[in-house]
Symmetry: C2
Subunit: 416 residues, 2 copies
């Protein structure tokens, strides 16, 4: 079971049982749908035909424009739409075949998807502060070693910007990765679902498709920037006709097509009219303010973390506090925070880390409000940190981390 | 690539090129959406959260009621919703694992799905006039033989009522199949997406879940009875907690959840309010009238086929006409019909048949009209066969089959 979706289910259970939970475990974007986006779904509610497996001409044209505006010239024929970028990533792994290199730390589903498809995954660590992209030098040696041992690595997955760390690999690192991929004849599967959520233009991720266009697949979706995860739509940009044909064949056998009314709404959104651009900008500012404030709270408590550059995630490491904490690893740490303090986070183990490491992931995307009114206010607020429900969450987290890391824990620990 | 979805794409290409095609190749239901169903999608257009992987409480409750009213008592916790019954069937094959027995003839995707999941499929013929259910005696010997040879058959797929034949296995045959499955410890995956499209109550399919409730998974969806294939929603009814847990785990890694507005509409539809029942009844009558008329046309031309009892499909066998036809098998026959006469059908090879057999599948579901107005008229017509666009299609088919099978072909054939 996906660690994030399991955490969502557990939260819902505890919430219904009347518990007060500070929920920082998963990255569902708790914001209301842009009204114009809803209107496009509504207008397309009579569309009941399957349509093309690859997606309607409209949605492919809009996605091609979306990527072309980002410096990746795209023909609508290069685009395949699917019911989320998650199923697209799964089908892409099947389409490429062979072993899959995944970054560490890594999004919860890449390795699980490879395994469901009968493929082996090869973990390769990222550089500090540059999550999502396996260190190119380590990638080279891991792939050579796997091949020498009879393995068949054919692709490498990257996440730009990164989940879980909220960081963005430097263009130079992406370029090196692209060169290694070319040298070793690897397909790059670049998951860029957070590409519109980089806080400052200078940090903007550069897609490996710029450096190795002949071998890079790019995926994205509406889930993160437009908060419609529950509508299920993603798009992939394919570099070759062979890969596209294979992906469409697999899609035709697994899911047929993507919900037609949602495709119509996506065609509108991916064309990026002004109100969509404004919504994404407002959401990005909101994430930035809140995630940076929460990062400060973790830093102040003594955890280590790289500056967050994008997304609504942060990935603090409690290693400097190990002596003060009565825990063996990240599972025990998140259990303690959940059971004793009602703070829900995900342990580093969910992201492929060694169980002894004290890394955990926090997501701020569910702090924006409980009701549509609160969430709309958060999106519009000049300073969302002054909203009572957000400041209360920050205060509570501060209090919990202070309590968790105070010296007396060490004494209790030593006594026991 | 799915044979049906490939045929849809080819049809669309030829239609846009201005060709007049009599399209009988695939079973997309060409009818407008029930207005009340649209309204429920519209009302839920603000739902943007993922929600539970298994589906909302509402849709699971409605599906449980739907099955309970059909004599299969169901707890909402036994239900898993997915983006179509197709992805559910794929995930179920992965969840059960091992080799999969499929009927012959068979729906185009079962074996392809097994293969994508790295599983082997074992074809077993159905009894004449009882498509969709592998002959129980042959099932027993095929499974024993596979196991003796080191194979690992763990499940058998059945289609009730059947696609491609439009027939329904007798309750006695289903009971025998259930007994063999129990004897051999096989899971039964019962695809019942056409279960509301049996023309007369006496023919109604009996689910294997009646005879082997402990080992039968049932799937269905909105695609066929409510004509919303393009909305992508299916539901599965699981017999054990172990299977349900495995299915939900796989679903969480492949598709996360089903489009939330579509789930809300499905919750309404599966509760079967009077207008939904009326719509399904009208669609069923329309299919019955047209499919039986088209079956007569094939019979009159000399093809053999079992009486059609359900769905919008028929599966004529041109074997009695082999001498009059200048073709080696079903691929050549459908190519001839498509290229010379502009009639699109699918060859038996798409359904797992021997290429030399002259079986082909026709679907009538795209004859109901080109526009929403025509389609609405077809749904409401006391006798749809009198509508000009439907009677023209029947006349054209009659003409083509007369031309195809006339004696002079033999002479031309003998001369060449």
């Amino acid at each position: 079971m996906s660690a994030t979706l399991a955490a969502d289910a557990e939260f819902e259970r505890r919430r219904l049982a009347g518990e007060q939970i500070l929920f920082l475990a998963t990255g569902e974007i708790g914001l209301p749908v842009l009204p114009e986006l809803r209107e496009h779904l509504v207008a397309a509610s009579g569309r009941n035909a399957y349509g093309p497996v690859a997606g309607s001409a409209d949605v492919r044209l809009a996605a091609a424009g979306y990527w072309s505006r980002r410096g990746l010239p795209t023909d609508p024929a290069d685009v395949v739409c699917g019911p989320g970028s998650k199923p697209l990533l799964f089908a892409l792994m099947l389409a490429v075949g062979g072993d899959v290199v995944v970054p560490v730390p890594t999004w919860v589903s890449y390795a699980a998807q490879a395994s469901l498809g009968g493929l082996r995954s090869i973990p390769v660590r990222t550089r500090p502060g540059e999550g999502g992209v396996p260190d190119p030098a380590e990638l080279r040696s891991a792939v050579r070693q796997a091949r020498a041992a009879g393995g068949d690595p054919r692709s490498v997955v990257v996440t730009l910007p990164d989940n879980p760390t909220g960081t963005i690999a430097k263009p130079e690192t992406v370029r090196e990765l692209a060169e290694v991929a070319r040298e070793l004849d690897l397909v790059i599967i670049s998951d860029e679902i957070y590409c519109d959520l980089a806080f400052v233009p200078a940090d903007q991720a550069v897609s490996p498709a710029h450096y190795a266009p002949e071998r890079t697949i790019v995926t994205t979706g509406l889930t993160k920037s437009l908060a419609v995860g529950g509508w299920r739509l993603g798009v992939a940009r394919l570099p070759t006709e062979a890969l596209r044909t294979r992906l469409i064949g697999i899609a035709s056998q697994i899911w047929s097509s993507t919900a037609a009314p949602v495709q119509a709404a996506a065609a509108y959104a991916l064309a990026e009219p002004p109100e969509v651009v404004r919504y994404v900008a407002a959401a990005r500012r909101l994430h930035e303010r809140v995630v940076r404030r929460v990062a400060d709270v973790f830093s102040t408590a003594g955890a280590e973390l790289a500056p967050v550059q994008a997304t609504c995630y942060l990935y603090p490491d409690f290693e400097p506090l190990r002596e003060r904490l009565d825990v063996a690893g990240s599972n025990e740490l998140t259990d303690l925070l959940s059971n004793r303090y009602g703070v829900a986070l995900l342990p580093g183990t969910a992201f492929g880390e060694d169980p002894r490491a004290l890394r955990i992931r926090a997501a701020t995307s569910r702090l924006y409000g409980e009701t549509d009114a609160e969430r709309t206010a958060a999106l519009a607020a000049p300073d969302p940190l002054t909203l009572p429900w957000i400041s209360a969450a920050v205060d509570r987290l501060t209090e919990v981390l202070t309590e968790l890391t105070k010296e007396s824990n060490v004494h209790r620990h030593l006594r026991s």
